[in-house]
């Protein structure tokens, strides 16, 4: 099968433009930007000091915001992409053009991924520029931590998009896809910590199994990588964190990034398989 990169570009451009016209997506993006600015403003309040915090403290506060909003953006955008078009019939018409399925999937996913990255860059960028302009930036070290956090957030966004895509490929109706995406989001966000804790207690898992359970969730992967990025140690995560650092040492960060990349690639391969089996219907 020959792949025409021009087709991928055309489809990606259209997808990016559609996403930027999507009111829900714009709402998410603006909410993320506003909340990250608000977090930067209030990050110092815990220390009894009001004003804009530096990159490090703001970055730490942003982790929870990213964990909450970014997967929701990625999952919902991915879930609506194929199922919505399949329901409207535009997918069938699109595939009747001289393009193949992999070009369509790549074009759509690249376009949507760029839209997500643009939203994150806007949120992180506005906050970063504001911190710098108000003189609260604390040197290049903190800026690089902040930029790495942006990179990790982008990886989480694209991984969520990829999972949303898989949901979309498996469902026929947009409403079903969105419902499933919200359910997955709830499971990943709210049952992440509690689920690991409960499972660990019930099954009496040892620390290595507990770590494996943590790393099976892309949100937890992001969280571990983001905390490690800021603190250089994982004491805050308890025995599993200490075990991870002791076992993998300096390889831990590349390992976490690699696993996040796997969360992008594997669901995408699943999407390709399902899409080929089902065709445009």
């Amino acid at each position: 099968m020959t792949i025409d990169f021009e087709n991928i570009l055309i489809l990606a451009q259209k997808e990016l433009r559609d996403a930027l016209r999507n009111r829900w997506f714009l709402l998410y993006a603006l909410a993320f930007a506003a909340l990250s600015l608000a977090l930067a403003w209030t990050a110092l309040s815990g220390a009894g000091d009001y004003g804009l915090a530096g990159f490090g403290r703001t970055g730490a506060s942003l982790i929870n915001l990213v964990l909450l909003i970014v997967p929701l953006m990625g999952l919902s955008l991915g879930a609506m992409s194929l199922a919505g078009e399949r329901e409207q019939g535009t997918l069938l018409y699109l595939l009747a053009q001289p393009i193949n399925q992999i070009e369509l999937l790549l074009g759509k996913s690249i376009g949507l991924a760029l839209a997500l990255v643009a939203a994150l860059v806007l949120g992180f960028g506005l906050t970063g520029v504001t911190i710098t302009l108000t003189g609260n930036g604390n040197g290049s070290g903190e800026i690089s931590i902040y930029l790495r956090l942006l990179l990790l957030s982008c990886l989480l966004a694209v991984a969520s998009l990829s999972i949303g895509f898989l949901i979309s490929a498996a469902t026929k109706r947009g409403a079903t896809a969105i419902g499933l995406a919200l359910f997955v989001w709830l499971v990943l966000v709210f049952l992440g910590d509690l689920g690991v804790l409960g499972t660990g207690l019930m099954l009496r898992l040892d620390v290595s199994q507990l770590l494996a359970l943590v790393l099976a969730n892309p949100l937890q992967l992001f969280k571990v990588a983001a905390i490690y990025n800021i603190r250089d140690n994982l004491e805050v995560l308890g025995p599993a964190g200490l075990y991870a650092l002791r076992t993998y040492g300096s390889h831990l960060f590349p390992l976490l990034v690699g696993l996040l990349l796997l969360w992008i690639v594997v669901p995408f391969l699943g999407t390709t398989y399902l899409f080929r089996r089902k065709g445009a219907l």
């Binding site: 020959t2 021009e6 087709n7 055309i10 259209k14 559609d18 016209r21 409207q88 019939g89 535009t90 069938l92 018409y93 595939l95 009747a96 053009q97 001289p98 393009i99 193949n100 080929r276 089996r277 065709g279 445009a280 219907l281």
Partner: protein, 309 residues
């Protein structure tokens, strides 16, 4: 006036039955089968289409017309073999689709785009050279005045014309149309059929599905009658009635003094006839509608009017 009256061009039929695949055939379909779970939507369908020919899938809803069309475009996986212009559709679907313009049954475009944006987007996918002048095509389809409108503001008729414009963007040799007039009113349907007829005269190969007999007889050189996914008849439209054994009732309106003579004349030639108000009612076999008219004319009886039932 029906479409048959307006669009009367008939190409010589290329024959019936299942012609064996030969090099002269643009489309060769062999044993096409498509199952949806336990439902067989298309069952062992085989046919060929020559270049410049217009072939219609005809049948009731659920007969397998749309599924067959989707298989021709390789939009859904299928069993069997489809060769279009020498290329295997299941292996080279993208290349084959470059040679096909498709008009779907459901006119589904991206509503947020304008007509111009839609044309530009699909033109790029079809590799239409940059700077291509859409206007002659849009003028011909009476779309030029609507190019800045968003898709959701277009009427059904305008959307249908846009679908045809998109199908013709790269001037493909083959047009595949799935129930192309299903959503059109009578006037828009006639205009659309006239334009399709013009395209056929210009050498396009047409494959279309319809459940309207008048559309089929107006446009098709051959009709593939599908029933429950199976090919029941492959014949020119004028042979359909004969093959299906349909009888027609003619109502002939005659001067009152001629009615009794007319009944005698028609009965003498074996036609079932009865008196009916201002004239007679005659049952005729397929392909024999002209017979009672000729007999009465030869007997010197003036026919004032007639209707076909």
């Amino acid at each position: 006036m029906n479409n048959r009256d307006k669009v009367t061009h008939k190409k010589q039929p290329t024959g019936s039955g299942h012609p064996s695949p030969t090099s002269g055939q643009l489309i060769q379909v062999t044993n096409l089968t498509k199952n949806f779970g336990s439902l067989t939507a298309v069952d062992g369908l085989s046919f060929t289409v020559s270049a410049g020919e217009a072939v219609a899938f005809w049948g009731a809803n659920g007969a397998g017309k749309t599924t067959a069309v989707r298989c021709l475009l390789n939009l859904i996986p299928f069993a069997g073999k489809i060769i279009i212009n020498g290329k295997d559709v299941s292996r080279a679907g993208k290349i084959v689709r470059r040679e096909i313009g498709f008009v779907p049954q459901e006119l589904t475009f991206h509503d947020a785009l304008s007509v111009t944006e839609t044309l530009t987007f699909y033109a790029r996918l079809k590799k239409v050279p940059a700077g291509y002048d859409f206007m002659p095509l849009l003028d011909r389809l009476e779309l030029a005045a609507h190019i800045h409108k968003p898709i959701h503001d277009l009427s059904g008729g305008l959307k249908q014309r846009l679908a045809l414009a998109l199908a013709l963007l790269s001037d493909p040799p083959i047009l595949i149309l799935d129930e192309p007039t299903a959503n059109l009113d009578i006037r828009a349907r006639e205009e659309f059929l006239l334009y399709l007829h013009e395209l056929k005269q210009n050498g396009k190969t047409l494959v279309f599905s319809s459940h309207r007999l008048e559309e089929i007889t107006a446009l098709a050189d051959r009709v593939l009658l599908l029933e429950a996914g199976r090919l029941v008849i492959d014949a020119p439209p004028d042979q359909l009635e004969r093959r299906l054994g349909w009888e027609t009732t003619l109502h002939l309106y005659l001067p009152t003094p001629s009615i009794a003579t007319a009944i005698d004349q028609l009965t003498a030639h074996g036609l079932p006839v009865s008196k009916n108000g201002r004239g007679v009612r005659v049952q005729v076999k397929p392909g024999e509608k002209g017979k009672p008219l000729r007999l009465l004319h030869e007997a010197g009886i003036r026919i004032e009017d007639f209707t076909v039932e």
